[in-house]
Each structure stands twice: as structure tokens, then as C-alpha cells.
């Protein structure tokens, strides 16, 4: 069994440079890592919103978080605000982190909360989330849990400029020996017998050889589809959005520590605050609205002045049927696409990379491992897909053709079961490896309008005054925790203001 020596990453952008950085850090001392990208092609870089597991990726790279935030013009994120999803005028918040605290009875906090709510308690479950409380007050701080459990942790992620993120990771990777090759790829050389890819031809006539190739070439999937016809499982009947108009706007005077997702007539609009500007976009389905109309509405609805003309991006929801074939691994858009409603794009790249390291191949890639990898990634995509579909399916809106379609469309069986369990008892009981916990499902399904009809009978075991006391304690601990936090703006200024932010003020 010959070891892999040369790894070639095809395509820069977020996925490509994440792969380069992770490989440089882990196997860089024994492997040659080359990344090919072309400035002509450019990347899809827009404002990018992430979820808390990205901290694990940063830890793997061993990067300094303040420096990372400064250099990518990042802000901190505690969750996502959903506006007009359930019905026009309604707002809810998908909080990061936990809800309440473990009451050590074997019954989840959510069950106690449902009991409390159903007997007249405050239906605002977010009073039990430190992250949501902080977001509401525009505050942020890094806070570890108190050792005695009396104070909750603050879970967070980042909102950053995808272009500067790629640049940042590029610097990181090149410092660790990754070779960057500029230019377009004009040909792919496959071994006649095994079908393995041996090299790619460059426009300048040179040849880049490799033992293993990582396809980060975007939607077209230069290797995974171009050479291997891996196939694409189309999910657009469940997730019809296939375009986005994106435009940067002036920075917000007070930067929100959360991303906003506002439902619109034919899709939804994002607002991702960065230090130096605000990323905006309208994600829509072109059967219900034209590009021009979407772009016009987007610009019209901006909260700050537009800094450029809107750019139209095209995509299709679905998954590459196989994202690892022979000696090619597809990461990022070449392996599938789910709209950025729950900020999962970077996470899927990260998961793909971590699993790849687990199953790190020899020069001959064992089909058993690639099959297992493909299965695990399929599960990741499907579970996130279901969560996103729920935002469209569970709604009161039928005010436009788009929403009529969504409300009445058929959904995957896996989601039907979850919705039924949630309606019955307020929990969906995720599987091992499910990205979204019951806290996330509660935030979204309750936010979208499903009120659980019952709760676990064991939650009745606690006497009412004891439950009230415990809930009051948790609330005051959260209040106290949040009171001690600086404003999001102050926090950024204290340790990680970017040059652009300093210059702007």
C-alpha cells in the first residue's frame, strides 16, 4: 500500500482554502499540498454566516481568534432572527447553545418548559437562553460556564467576509508550505485502467500531478462530475429557491450580534453584519419572481446605502450522489448545495474535511471507505435539508404563489415523523450526528407556529413550587450573565476591531 504524497486542491474560494489550511496543519509535514485557482474565474464570496462548530475548526488550525476576527472583518453571532416566516409581522429567534439548564432528572428542560408554558407561564422560551437574551440587548462576550453551574456559557459563531476569510486561510496555508498555482485547468488526465485521476493540464501547458485530488471547483464539479459523472440528486421540489441577488451595503451603526433572515414574497432576504459593511441578499425562485424584480426589491429594502450593483447567483438545491469517487473528494458547492438559511455551507465543508481525515486514504482508495464516507455525508446533507424545509412547510403564509406552494408541498418522510413527534411532545429526538438539537428544532418549529400539545409525563413529577423556583433561578442566572456583558460593538473594539472599522470611525 503506497501512501498518498501529493494532494492537489482544485479551486480556491472558501472550501478550497479551508481544505488547504486543514491539510497543511495535519498532514502538511509529510504531504505536498498544491492548490490551483484562477483569478479569472473568481469566487462566489459573499457575506458568510457560520454556526458554533466552526470554533472546533479554528481550534484544529490553532489560530488566534482575535486576529482571525480582525483580519476577516468578522462580527460575532448568537443566532438568527427570522422575520415574517410564520406570518407577516411575526418574528422569532433561532438561538445558539442550550435552553435553560439540565435539571438532572433525566427529562429535558424543554419538557419542563412546555409544562410551565401550558399552565400559563411566559410563552417566550428565549428568556431561558443566554445567547438570545444577549442578542436582544445587542451584547456579546466570551463567557465560560461557572464551575458551580450557576452561570451559563455563551455559545457563538462568526459572520465574516467570505473573500477575506479565504485570503486569511490562504496566508495561513502558504506559510505552512501549501503551493498555490495560478491558472485555468484545461484538461484532466485519467489512468486508462483504474480511472484514477493522475494529473490536470494547465492553460500554460504545464501539468500538475497528484495522488489525490480535492474538487473545490464549485457547482460544475470539474472532476467529480466532469470526469466521474457522479450525478446530482435534485431537491428543488422541496427547496425551490434557485437564485440569489446579493449586494453589500454600508455598515450598520449598531452591529447586530446575529444574522437576520426575512421572508419575502418569493423567498427570503439575508442581512449579515460585518465590521466594515453589511452583506445582503435575496434568495428566491425564478418561477415566482424575475431577476430584475428581485434585485430591485432587494436594493429598495436595504437599510443602508448600497455599495455596489446587485450580483445574481444561480444554484440548485441538492446533493452530489457521491462526493468521494476514486481519488477525488468533492467539497463545498461541488458536493451539493443547501440555501444559506441556517448558515450551514461552511459547516458542511468542515464536516467533509474532518471525515476525510478520519478516512485518510492510501494511494489506492478503498471503496469501502469511500462508500462509508458518502453515506455519512448523505446523512449530513439530508438532516440539514429537512431542517431547512421545515421553515417553509410549517407556516401560516399563503399570501403569494411561492408560499402557497411551500405550505402545501409534500415533504420527506423523515421530516413528517419529526413534525408529528414535535406536535405531540415538543421534541424530535435527533439521531447521533444530527447537527440540529432539540433546542434548535424547538426554536424553529415553535417559532413557525407549532405549539406542542403535550409533554413528557415525567415532567409532572416535580412539584410546582420547586419547578417555579428552579426556573426563576435559571432566569436570574441568565440575566446576571447577560448584564455582565459589554455591547457587541464595545467587545469588538476592545480586542478585535479591523482596520476598516477603525478607519470608518
Amino acid at each position: 500500500m503506497e501512501p498518498v504524497r501529493d494532494i492537489v486542491i482544485v479551486g480556491g474560494g472558501t472550501a478550497g482554502w479551508m481544505a488547504a489550511a486543514a491539510l497543511a496543519k495535519t498532514v502538511g509535514s509529510t504531504h505536498r499540498i498544491t492548490l490551483i485557482e484562477s483569478e479569472e474565474i473568481g469566487t462566489v464570496g459573499v457575506g458568510e454566516s457560520t454556526i458554533p462548530p466552526i470554533i472546533l475548526f479554528n481550534n484544529l488550525l490553532g489560530i488566534n481568534e482575535d486576529e482571525f476576527v480582525r483580519e476577516t472583518n468578522a462580527t460575532f453571532k448568537l443566532g438568527i432572527e427570522f422575520v415574517d416566516w410564520r406570518r407577516r409581522g411575526h418574528t422569532y429567534f433561532h438561538n445558539f447553545g442550550l435552553l435553560g439548564a439540565d435539571l438532572l432528572t433525566g427529562v429535558s428542560f424543554i419538557q419542563y418548559w412546555i409544562r410551565w408554558m401550558r399552565s400559563g407561564g411566559d410563552p417566550d422560551h428565549l428568556r431561558f437562553s443566554a445567547e438570545a437574551e444577549a442578542a436582544r440587548q445587542m451584547k456579546f462576550g466570551r463567557a465560560q460556564p461557572a464551575p458551580d453551574g450557576s452561570q451559563p456559557k455563551i455559545n457563538y459563531a462568526f459572520q465574516f467576509d467570505a473573500f477575506t476569510y479565504a485570503t486569511y486561510l490562504r496566508r495561513y496555508s502558504e506559510r505552512r508550505g501549501v503551493i498555490r498555482r495560478e491558472g485555468r485547468i484545461t484538461g484532466v488526465r485519467q489512468n486508462g485502467e483504474s480511472g484514477y485521476i493522475e494529473a490536470v493540464d494547465m492553460q500554460d501547458g504545464s501539468v500538475v500531478r497528484g495522488d489525490f485530488f480535492i474538487d473545490c471547483s464549485g457547482f460544475r464539479g470539474l472532476l467529480i462530475e466532469g470526469a466521474y459523472d457522479a450525478g446530482f440528486e435534485d431537491w428543488s421540489h422541496w427547496l425551490p429557491n434557485n437564485r440569489a441577488a446579493a449586494v453589500p451595503a454600508e455598515r450598520m451603526p449598531a452591529i447586530t450580534p446575529y444574522t437576520k433572515a426575512q421572508a419575502r414574497e418569493a423567498g427570503w432576504q439575508w442581512r449579515i453584519p460585518l465590521q466594515h459593511r453589511t452583506g445582503n441578499g435575496y434568495v428566491y425562485c425564478d418561477s415566482y419572481i424575475s431577476d430584475d424584480e428581485a434585485a430591485r426589491l432587494l436594493v429598495e429594502r436595504l437599510e443602508g446605502k448600497a455599495l455596489a450593483d446587485p450580483k445574481i447567483l444561480r444554484f440548485k438545491a441538492g446533493r452530489r450522489r457521491k462526493s468521494w469517487v476514486n481519488n477525488v473528494l468533492a467539497l463545498g458547492l461541488s458536493s451539493g448545495f443547501l440555501e444559506p438559511l441556517e448558515s450551514t455551507s461552511i459547516h458542511l465543508v468542515q464536516v467533509g474535511l474532518m471525515k476525510f481525515l478520519e478516512y485518510f486514504p492510501h494511494r489506492h482508495c478503498d471503496p469501502i471507505l469511500t462508500a462509508r464516507y458518502n453515506e455519512e455525508m448523505a446523512f449530513q446533507y439530508e438532516t440539514i435539508r429537512d431542517f431547512i424545509i421545515a421553515h417553509y412547510k410549517v407556516t401560516e403564509r399563503e399570501d403569494t404563489e411561492f408560499w402557497k406552494y411551500c405550505k402545501n408541498m409534500s415533504i420527506p418522510d423523515t421530516l413528517t415523523e419529526k413534525l408529528e413527534l414535535f406536535r405531540t411532545r415538543g421534541e424530535v429526538k435527533p439521531r447521533i450526528g444530527d447537527l440540529f438539537t432539540d433546542v434548535s428544532w424547538l426554536a424553529v418549529l415553535f417559532g413557525q407556529g407549532i405549539v406542542p400539545q403535550g409533554y413528557h409525563p415525567l415532567a409532572d413529577a416535580m412539584p410546582e413550587d420547586e419547578l417555579n423556583l428552579k426556573l426563576a433561578r435559571i432566569r436570574s442566572a441568565i440575566k446576571q450573565r447577560v448584564e455582565g456583558l459589554p455591547s457587541h460593538g464595545e467587545f469588538i473594539h476592545s480586542c478585535c476591531a479591523s482596520e476598516a472599522l477603525v478607519a470608518a470611525e
Partner: protein
């Protein structure tokens, strides 16, 4: 009917009945849920043993049954590991210990460090890095020390009749109503049980029925749509013989599982005797032959009290039908390898309690329960199947067939991924952690071809240091644990105070 569950009736026998009854009563009894047990005639024999992995501690805690009582009444001996001998020709015996050490440094498990060490010429076996295996070899019991939690845990070998009686008395103390009577008739309407009619003529209704009757499936078996998927193909022992032998002094804190030409013999130490279980294939050896040859592999004198029975291996296609939930062997049948018997019951109860229906009448929870139990069963089966399939006893028809058989897909995947990467792909509802799987698979002779490249981030000397640190920690920790004799004499509670 759409109110909450007000009445629960549990039908069954022996420890599974009382475990279920006590657990349900402890959880729901004070919530105005009436819990009633219907006890069917016992099937236990004086020689029977329950062997339980450490998860049983959680159950005892849940039902508030004290360890002191268990040790005194059920002749219990702590169980820290299983030792497998004669499964692989001339290769040494190996242990699967009950421990789950935190990964050193990053989130890459210790097994990867071990694989890398082996590739670089390091000698120790995987079990040398197991705190539990080391404790087992030194006859020590892993209990808390200085308030810090150990990464090793223990279960028990328990004398079956006194343990069941203890549980029954406990359930009575908890206030459960008990009827001891055979069932006359079961009234079924569509897929619902409307009532159980006892031989005495009493008619018993309930919102929810739990079937803890064992392989008989006294309730679930009467409902439509309960087919049984057989695992005979993968768990080849169809019969077992139980006998009792002289005690071993001091009693080992592990079970010794020794393969012979048509099955295996296990020694399960108790305080005043040693239970002996032989599981075998009746196609390859006769019952008389097994009973006559029992003392040989066991090497301890056996009494003339051997009892034989049939093993039913497989899973019910639906363990929750209508208002009836099967737990334990009524849902999943295994053979006695790896001491999973009580765990099956306990595990089913955990699933049932987690999904305990919000309302009587409609049970949207049933589909989820059925899927979880099917998965749990598959994983338990795979643990046992791995032992048979990975044997290296050549030229014995029984063992040759075990090796040649097609594996369940889930297990095949596990073996392949482990042998290629040293990772154990864990599915939902796994009773074993990665560490136990690694101990089982490496013990049975699979040596992974490579390890997770992420550990190469650290320089060699750091790796060597981590590996040596683990050995040092074990060497320092084990002698401070109480011996089995001390433990049995003083009990865990008093030992903790003494420290």
C-alpha cells in the same frame, strides 16, 4: 380515549419483570399512574446467573436499590472485564474491559496512538492501556478515589433467583400491586389489548401494557403484525447448559469465556459458587456430551445440577404494537455472550421511558420505539456475532462455518472500517463505546492498517510521552483500588468513607 396514561400493567416474570416494574413505578408511581404487575410462573433454576455490564449501576440507582443489599442478597461479585481464551488457536487470551478513557489531547481516540506505537515497534497489547483490564488482572474493583471519577466501571455477576426475589421485594416496597397468576385469556380489539383475563377470572384493563415475559412474548405475540426476524445465521449457538461449580477464592472480577469445538463455556464467579454456562450448537455436539465435557474446559468441579434450554436469537419486527410494548427478551433475543441479557431489558425501558406516551389512545411514539429497538438489537447482535465470525479455530466444522458465513452488513462495515482506519463507525443505539469495540476487534486479531493522521501533528516524543503516561497512570491507580475481597467485605459505601 385521549387523556393521559393512568394505568400501566406489566406482565412478565423474574428479574426483567421486576426491573421493569420498579423502574416504571419509581418514575410514574407518584404521578397518579397506577402500576400493576402480573407475575407469571418463574422459569429460573437454582443454578441460573444474571451477568450484567456496568450499565446496571444506572438502573439500580434509578430504582434506588442499594449495592449493599445486592451484594449481600444476590451473592454478587463485581464484573470489570470479560476474558476470552481459546478463541484464536494459539494466540493469547484477551480482555474486553469496561472503560472509556478520555482521548489524550485532541478528539482522536487512544487506539490510534496505540496503532502508531505498534507500527513503530512498541510492544504492549491494546488491553495494557485499559484501566479496567488491568484492574481485572489484579483482582481490583474500580471505585471512586479521592472523589475523582475513574474511567473504568464495573457490573455484576448475580445469582438469578435471589436477585429476582430482591427486586420483587423492592417493587413491593415501592407500592406496586402484584398479582401472581397465569393468564387465562387476552381480549384484543384490532391491534389493542382491551383486557387481560387471569385464570382466576379477574379481568384487568389498562391504558398501556408492557410485556416483560421473555421469549414467550405472552402479550405481544398475540397481537397482529408481530413477526420475528431470526438471527440463527449469525448467532450459531442454539442451546445452552447452565450448571454450578465450586467457588473460586478470591473470586475473579471478570468472566472467563473459553471456546471449545462446538461453542463456548463461561465461568461467572459468585460469592459461594461459580456459575457455568455452556452455549453450543446442537448440530455439532449433543447435550449429553456437553454436560459430560463441561468440567474439562471449566477446570473446576461441577455439581450434578446442569439444566439445558433453547436459545432464541432474533428480534421482533415490531416491539410496540397498539397499546402493548415489549421489553427485554420479548423484543430482542440474544445468546449469553458478553453479558448483555439484563442490559436488553434495561435498554428497552430507557427507550420506553424517554418516549413515554403523552396520551393514551394514539401512540405516535410507537414507530420511533420500534426503530430504536430494531437498531439496538442489531448492534447487540453484531457484538456477539463479531466474536464468532473472527474466531481463529481452524479445522473444526462449527468454527469454520462461523468464519465462512456472510456477515450482517452493519458488522461487515464496522470490521472493514476498523481494519483500514482504526476508527470504529458507531451507529445510533450502540451499547459499546469505541474503546470496547477496539478491545474486542484488536483482541480477536484485527490490526488496523493505519491510524488517524491528525495525531501526526504532535512530534514523536509527545506521542511516546502520552503512551507512557497512560501506562504510568494505570500502574499507579490500580494498586490503590480495593481488592475484590475488601470490596465484598466492606461494600463500596464504607470504602469510600474510609478513604
Amino acid at each position: 380515549m385521549s387523556g393521559r396514561i393512568a394505568t400501566v400493567v406489566i406482565v412478565g416474570r423474574d428479574a426483567p419483570l421486576w426491573i421493569t416494574t420498579a423502574a416504571v413505578q419509581r418514575s410514574l408511581g407518584h404521578l397518579d399512574v397506577a402500576v400493576q404487575a402480573i407475575e407469571l410462573p418463574s422459569l429460573l433454576q437454582p443454578v441460573d446467573v444474571y451477568s450484567a455490564m456496568p450499565a446496571i449501576q444506572g438502573l439500580h440507582k434509578q430504582i434506588a436499590l442499594s449495592e449493599e443489599l445486592i451484594i449481600a442478597a444476590a451473592k454478587a461479585v463485581p464484573l470489570v472485564a470479560q476474558r476470552y481464551s481459546n478463541w484464536a488457536g494459539a494466540s493469547p487470551a484477551w480482555m474486553v474491559g469496561y472503560d472509556d478513557p478520555p482521548p489524550p489531547g485532541s478528539d482522536v481516540g487512544f487506539v490510534h496512538y496505540w496503532v502508531r506505537g505498534r507500527q513503530e515497534g512498541l510492544k504492549p497489547a491494546f488491553e495494557d492501556f485499559s484501566l479496567a483490564a488491568s484492574a481485572a488482572k489484579h483482582a481490583r474493583v474500580p471505585v471512586y478515589q479521592d472523589g475523582s471519577e475513574l474511567s473504568a466501571a464495573y457490573g455484576y455477576n448475580l445469582a438469578a433467583i435471589p436477585y429476582s426475589l430482591l427486586l420483587k421485594a423492592h417493587a413491593n416496597r415501592l407500592g406496586v400491586r402484584v398479582e401472581s397468576a397465569p393468564i387465562g385469556d387476552i381480549e384484543v380489539n384490532d391491534d389493542r389489548i382491551t383486557a387481560i383475563v387471569l385464570a382466576s377470572g379477574d379481568r384487568i384493563e389498562a391504558d398501556l401494557f408492557i410485556d416483560a415475559s421473555g421469549i414467550e412474548g405472552a402479550l405481544i405475540g398475540r397481537l397482529p403484525g408481530s413477526s420475528f426476524e431470526s438471527w440463527d445465521e449469525w448467532l450459531p449457538c442454539d442451546r445452552m447448559v447452565v450448571a454450578s461449580g465450586a467457588p473460586i477464592d478470591p473470586p475473579p472480577v471478570y468472566s472467563q469465556i473459553s471456546a471449545f469445538r462446538a461453542g463456548w463455556v463461561g465461568l461467572y464467579p459468585l460469592q459461594d459458587s461459580t456459575a457455568v454456562i455452556a452455549a453450543y450448537s446442537s448440530k455439532h455436539i449433543s447435550q449429553t456430551e456437553v454436560i459430560e465435557s463441561l468440567p474439562l474446559p471449566a477446570r473446576i468441579p461441577i455439581g450434578g445440577d446442569a439444566v439445558a434450554s433453547t436459545l432464541r436469537r432474533g428480534v421482533r419486527s415490531r416491539s410496540w404494537i397498539g397499546n402493548c410494548v415489549a421489553v427485554g427478551e420479548a423484543a430482542i433475543g440474544l445468546d449469553p455472550l458478553e453479558s448483555l441479557g439484563l442490559y436488553v431489558t434495561h435498554n428497552c425501558i430507557s427507550h420506553l421511558m424517554a418516549l413515554f406516551p403523552v396520551r393514551a389512545g394514539t401512540f405516535p411514539e410507537a414507530d420511533r420505539y420500534n426503530r430504536e429497538i430494531a437498531l439496538a438489537g442489531q448492534n447487540l447482535r453484531d457484538i456477539q456475532c463479531a466474536h464468532y465470525a473472527l474466531n481463529r479455530r481452524f479445522d473444526e466444522p462449527f468454527w469454520d462455518q462461523c468464519r465462512d458465513r456472510r456477515l450482517p452488513e452493519s458488522l461487515e462495515r464496522k470490521l472493514e472500517v476498523f481494519s483500514l482506519t482504526a476508527h470504529v463507525p458507531l451507529y445510533d443505539e450502540e451499547p459499546f463505546e469505541e474503546q470496547q469495540w477496539a478491545a474486542l476487534l484488536s483482541g480477536a486479531g484485527i490490526f488496523p492498517k493505519r491510524y488517524d493522521p491528525r495525531i501526526d501533528v504532535a512530534p514523536d516524543e509527545v506521542l511516546i510521552q502520552k503512551v507512557q503516561q497512560r501506562l504510568r497512570d494505570i500502574a499507579v491507580t490500580v494498586p490503590n483500588m480495593p481488592s475484590a475481597a475488601e470490596f465484598l467485605k466492606h461494600g463500596r459505601g464504607r470504602l469510600e468513607v474510609a478513604r
